[in-house]
């Protein structure tokens, strides 16, 4: 399948996982999805299609709050899909925003637009009869959801940096190009959802392979010193290197990823590492061949070890790099120096170098919905009706109203304040806390995340205040399962769901997201979490070095050991 000679010694042999069978039998991701769409006896997808719809950007979910209730009612779970749009770099126009605002209100169970850590939006709760109309609607406004889930390269992130607009524009264009370059070539999406005719050609997937990738694959374009997209959560990162404000090339980092499986010590969160520097002209080839090397040598036997990070740890980063260089035909230059100094979003107004102004709004949990006293969704729609620039969804689940001409600044600010989109009472702690969706929709959720975060933050705020640290914050993240959408494994305090009300607590990440935290508390409830944090924050207040962040403090104090090399240190 590969046009490059395969080295069997670099492959994992054994019986392929069942996902490999279903991809192989899917006729390039078609499966029997079409038949399922006309099956009106169930709201769900059957058999392999349950997995295959993911490649089209959807997850089958149900309202887990009422799953048992419905079982007693002799009703199947309230099956629906979550759709994740493909929006490289997270840029969306006001016209698009108004359209998705309307769709969310009229055709989804939850009525919300959910901004996510993949720098895009999700619709939650789309019933089967609405699925195809949804794709056609999205297509009509220039949006698709191809390959935003499944064993493919997913939505490509790009640092949300509206200030240096020229550099951002270049980086953003690369994010778009990489996304397009790595898309599946199958016409399944067009045929299934857009009713495009089946074309009699022999389809092939020259980049992703006929069986697609061994596992999900995540890519970013990042503009230092800002690490808002969390490079270490991604398989492949292009670190923008600029000279005099002009992009000249990228340092390439590979092998990051945060997912793990409880009880399986062969799985662990791992940082990305540097392969070297490349010129712009090699960007797409390098992207392609990091993917093809992972495609050919990723573990297709054990899905839990299938991600790029394990491939690199298994075959060695030098071998991995040599394979990529050989396929691209170019050697990596030594990496250019770069540094990350920030990670959170810069809330409020900033002036761009192009004379435009940009307003970053804190959207708690990324959930755009009208809440009592805070009609966020109505407010954003009102802004979209007058806004002349664009919107940028950030990888921290927030939203930037970008490119506001000075004359409109007051109007936008007024609308934002009227609708609770600017709330001066939000603490730094709240603005630096994040959670994945979890209950009630996510089928993987083991504990609450989004619905729990606001009250957890209030309790942590109280602890900080108790120790006179109310102006400080701790990067706090909650994720409902070890799959890690909430990126808790790059937090100073990370909670990972184990069971309803129970979490593993990891400590020791840092502010800029360049250190993996380590397990501190195993399977504990809120009371214990808060009592331990109270104690540690108390110590931090008294014994911290000047400006020392909480994560650095707990490492220095030996509260947890530092994770330097995940494979050996994380479970040690």
């Amino acid at each position: 399948m590969s046009q490059y000679p395969i080295k069997p010694e670099l492959q994992v042999s054994g019986k392929l996982s069942d996902n490999e069978r279903l991809k192989a039998e899917s006729e390039h991701l078609r499966g029997t999805i079409k038949q399922d769409l006309s099956n009106d006896i169930t709201g769900g997808f059957t058999g392999d299609n349950f997995m295959l719809v993911r490649f089209h950007g959807m997850y089958q979910q149900d309202d887990r709050d009422i799953r048992a209730e419905r079982a007693a009612q002799k009703l199947e779970p309230l099956h629906n899909v979550m759709l994740r749009a493909r929006m490289p770099g997270g840029i969306i126009t006001p016209a698009q925003w108004l359209a998705i605002d309307k769709f969310a209100a009229e055709k989804t169970l939850y009525g919300s637009i959910r901004l996510t850590t993949r720098q895009t939006f999700q619709f939650h709760g789309v019933l089967k009869p609405n699925i195809k109309p949804m794709h056609q609607f999205l297509n009509s406004i220039g949006i698709d959801s191809i390959a935003t889930a499944g064993d493919v390269n997913r939505n490509v992130l790009c640092t949300s940096n509206p200030v240096e607009s020229e550099l951002h524009q270049q980086a953003y264009q690369w994010a778009v190009q990489i996304s397009e370059h790595l898309l599946p070539k199958t016409r399944a999406y067009a045929e299934l959802w857009l009713d495009e005719e089946k074309v009699e050609t022999t389809e092939t997937e020259p980049v992703l392979g006929e069986n697609y990738l061994p596992r999900k694959f995540k890519t970013t374009v990042v503009i230092p010193p800002h690490n808002d997209i969390d490079v270490h959560a991604n398989d492949l990162n292009f670190v923008a290197i600029a000279e005099h404000g002009k992009l000249i090339g990228f340092n390439v980092l590979v092998g990051g990823g945060l997912a793990m499986t409880f009880g399986d010590n062969s799985t662990y969160p791992r940082k990305a590492e540097v392969l070297g520097f490349i010129g712009l002209e090699h960007t797409l080839k390098v992207a392609e061949h990091v993917v093809t090397v992972q495609r050919d040598y990723g573990d297709r036997v054990n899905r839990k070890n299938a991600k790029t990070k394990y491939t690199i740890d298994r075959i060695g980063v030098d071998t991995f790099k040599a394979e990529v260089e050989q396929r691209v035909g170019v050697a990596f230059a030594p990496a250019k120096p770069f540094e990350f100094t920030t990670r959170g979003d810069r809330f409020g107004w900033v002036d761009g170098i192009d004379g435009k102004q940009h307003l970053t709004l804190f959207i708690e949990n990324g959930r755009v919905l009208d809440f009592p006293g805070k009609p966020l969704k109505t407010g954003l729609a009102a802004i979209a009706k007058v806004h002349q620039g664009d919107f940028r969804m950030t990888a921290n689940q927030n939203l930037i109203i970008a490119g506001v001409p000075p004359a409109q600044k007051l109007l936008i600010e007024q609308l934002a304040r009227e609708h609770g989109l600017i709330d001066d009472s939000h603490s730094e702690q709240r603005k630096n806390s994040m959670a994945c969706v979890s209950f009630p929709t996510c089928p993987l959720a083991m504990a609450e995340a989004e619905r729990y975060l606001p009250e957890l933050v209030s309790k942590v705020e109280a602890l900080l205040a108790k120790h006179q640290l109310q102006n400080d914050h701790i990067v706090l993240r909650v994720t409902g399962c070890p799959n890690g959408c909430g990126r808790a494994m790059l937090a100073e305090v990370g909670l990972v769901g184990r069971a309803p009300g129970k979490y593993n607590v990891y400590l020791g990440g840092n502010k800029v997201g360049t250190r993996i935290p380590k397990l501190y508390l195993d399977n504990v409830g809120e009371a214990q979490i808060l009592s331990e944090l109270d104690n540690l924050i108390g110590q931090w207040a008294v014994e911290r070095h000047s400006g020392e962040c909480f994560g650095d403090f707990v490492i220095r104090q030996g509260v947890v050991a530092e994770v330097k090399v995940s494979k050996t240190d994380f479970h040690a």
Binding site: D40, I41, G43, I66, Q73, K74, L75, L127
Partner: protein, 603 residues
């Protein structure tokens, strides 16, 4: 039937026959037993139909033929009671379901008694449709030899009260028949009046039969054997334990439908798929208290009801009808309480019917309360009619649930006139009865809604809403029997996510192959409303093909709209796919009906 409980004096079999039957049954496995049961039922039906003709022809003067048209079994009960009276007087009598009555027999008939209800908008009940059509057709013979009487059962709250009875009565006279006794049209609480009418009739015919030396008792055939041999019946209901009360519509549904499971353990009650469960209920104590307060009466006041002395609140709670309203109450209550406004309203039948349409008894009294001393407790009791049991199509097969009986009950609940309203029986089951409490029940058999005796015969079941109930029973039965015939179910309701009754069970049946096809119509999920009849039309060719293959066709649910729309769809399907004209299509369905291949349980 439980053979251990089959005792000679309770069954029509001789002791020797019982022993022979027990000997045979002990050697059969359950599937063989089920087959034998179906075989015997079918042959009894055939025998019943054929036996009547020669018997009547041979004994030219000596049989009282009592036929009934009934949806609920009431007319059948009255017909059976009349036959028993006749037999007691040595008058030969037979009871025949109008669905089984051979129209060609009519010209030979000497004594014909018709007991019939009326249905919907003045139409004959389903089992009387063929006979009714025959009687009003050109084929109807002159009947100079005939002596007849007609008894109507109905409900005065309907506009077309006892219309079918009146139609029969007039038509038989028109064809030359002589009335034995004037027709009576009886309201919902017909018991006493029906008994009087029966006794009076026997008095009239007795001399005629006494003059006939060949008079003999002919035991009415067939169905008695299928009747449960329990000591419990409509008059003596069984206090059964409520096992389960489970809402089976989703939390966002506009409907509240309950799956009810009741234990028949220890009752000896048995039923067949297609039968109904009769159920008595207690009225809401809050409703009783409000009524007492509005009429300024004391609940402790002693009243007399059916020769029984009891307290007013007991009578109101347990014995009287407090939810369904009817004109007689308005009239009697207006008179008793000397309420002029209500008296005026009651004087105009049309206005009164409109007024009563959405009103329960309590609404009438709320509008017209009675001051202290205006009326007595006994007057209130006399104004109210006796509670009639509610019938629910049984949603289970004993082959599957043994001594349980399952129901699918839509809770009647609505706001009107600024007040919440709750149905009497459905409110009792859904809200007032706790699991473990007792509810008074009996079995009401329905021989006009039966699975084909032959397990290979395909069936098409059309049951939107709670009309699904008997089909759950059918499916359980066919599953337990290992019946190889194909099963096709049409179901509909407003919303897929909220109102797909028994969804997971049906999905299971579909997966296992018991259900060959399942077509659903969720009317409110689409811009254009889609109903079961639309789904039938969509599959017209296949529906017709199934019918041509001998499929039996069943409809259960709403009578006024759904059953008519479905019938029209079937006519169209037959006409188009069978290359027939409208008349031939009608004839095709009539023939299906006569062959018992097109059965309805509609309400």
């Amino acid at each position: 039937m439980l053979l251990s409980s089959l005792v000679a004096q309770a069954s029509p079999l001789s002791e020797q026959q019982v022993q022979q039957l027990q000997g045979l049954v002990s050697q059969l496995n359950p599937i063989q037993q089920a087959w034998v049961s179906g075989y015997l039922a079918a042959s009894a039906q055939l025998a019943g139909g054929q036996a009547t003709a020669p018997a009547a022809a041979a004994t030219t003067s000596a049989t009282l033929t009592i036929v009934y048209g009934s949806q609920t079994g009431n007319a059948r009960h009255v017909a059976e009671a009349l036959a028993a009276l006749a037999n007691a007087k040595n008058i030969a009598a037979k009871v025949v379901d109008l669905a089984d009555y051979k129209s060609s027999q009519l010209k030979n008939e000497q004594y014909l008694i018709i007991v019939t209800s009326t249905y919907g908008e003045g139409e004959p009940p389903e089992n009387a449709v063929s006979f009714y059509n025959f009687l009003f057709s050109k084929k109807a013979p002159q009947l100079p030899q005939l002596k007849f009487a007609v008894l109507g059962l109905g409900d005065t709250s309907y506009e077309f009260f006892c219309k079918t009875a009146a139609d029969f009565d007039e038509r038989l006279a028109e064809l030359g028949g002589q009335r034995l006794q004037a027709r009576a049209d009886l309201d919902v609480d017909y018991d006493t009046a029906a008994s009087s009418w029966n006794h009076a009739l026997i008095k009239v015919v007795e001399p005629e039969f006494a003059a006939t030396p060949s008079a003999q008792v002919i035991n009415w055939p067939g169905q008695a054997a299928a009747v449960s041999q329990s000591q419990y019946n409509k008059q003596q209901p069984f206090a059964a334990e409520l096992y389960t009360n489970q809402k089976i519509t989703g939390r966002d549904s506009g409907k509240d439908v309950r799956h009810i499971e009741i234990s028949l353990q220890g009752s000896g009650l048995t039923y067949q798929p297609g039968d109904a469960l009769g159920l008595y209920f207690n009225n809401d104590p809050a409703l009783v208290n409000e009524l007492l307060s509005l009429t300024s009466l004391e609940g402790a006041a002693q009243v007399s009801l059916a020769n029984q002395s009891l307290s007013l609140s007991e009578a109101l709670t347990e014995q009287l009808e407090l939810t369904q309203s009817y004109p007689a109450f308005a009239e009697k209550y207006a008179a008793a309480s000397a309420n002029q406004a209500l008296q005026q309203l009651a004087a105009d039948k049309t206005a009164l019917r409109a007024y009563l349409a959405d009103r329960q008894i309590i609404d009438i009294v709320r509008d017209h309360p009675a001051a202290a001393g205006a009326m007595t407790a006994q007057q209130l009791v006399d104004a109210l009619r006796k509670q009639q049991p509610r019938l629910y199509s049984i949603a289970s097969s004993q082959a599957e649930v043994e001594d349980e009986v399952h129901l699918t009950v839509a809770v009647v609940r609505y706001d009107a006139f600024g007040q919440p309203h709750l149905g009497g029986a459905s409110g009792y089951l859904a809200e007032r009865l706790a699991e473990g409490d007792k509810v008074r029940v009996f079995i009401e058999q329905n021989n006009n809604f039966r699975l084909p005796a032959n397990d290979d015969t395909p069936v098409i079941m059309i049951g939107p809403g709670t009309g699904i109930a008997p089909f759950r029973a059918f499916l359980q039965e066919r599953d337990a029997r290992g019946a190889s015939g194909k099963n096709w179910l049409f179901f509909g309701n407003p919303h897929f996510t909220q109102d797909f009754l028994y969804q997971t069970e049906l999905q299971g049946y579909l997966k296992q192959g018991l259900l060959s096809k399942l077509d659903v119509a969720f009317s409110r999920d689409h811009a254009e409303k889609v109903y079961v009849q639309d789904k039938l039309r969509k599959h017209a060719a296949e529906v017709y093909q199934w019918l041509q293959q001998g499929a039996h066709l069943y409809i259960c649910g709403d009578a006024n709209r759904m059953a008519k729309d479905v019938h029209q769809a079937l006519l169209d399907i037959v006409q188009q796919n069978g290359s027939k004209n409208a008349e031939q299509a009608q004839q095709y369905l009539d023939e299906l009906r006569l062959a018992k291949r097109y059965q309805k349980d509609v309400y």
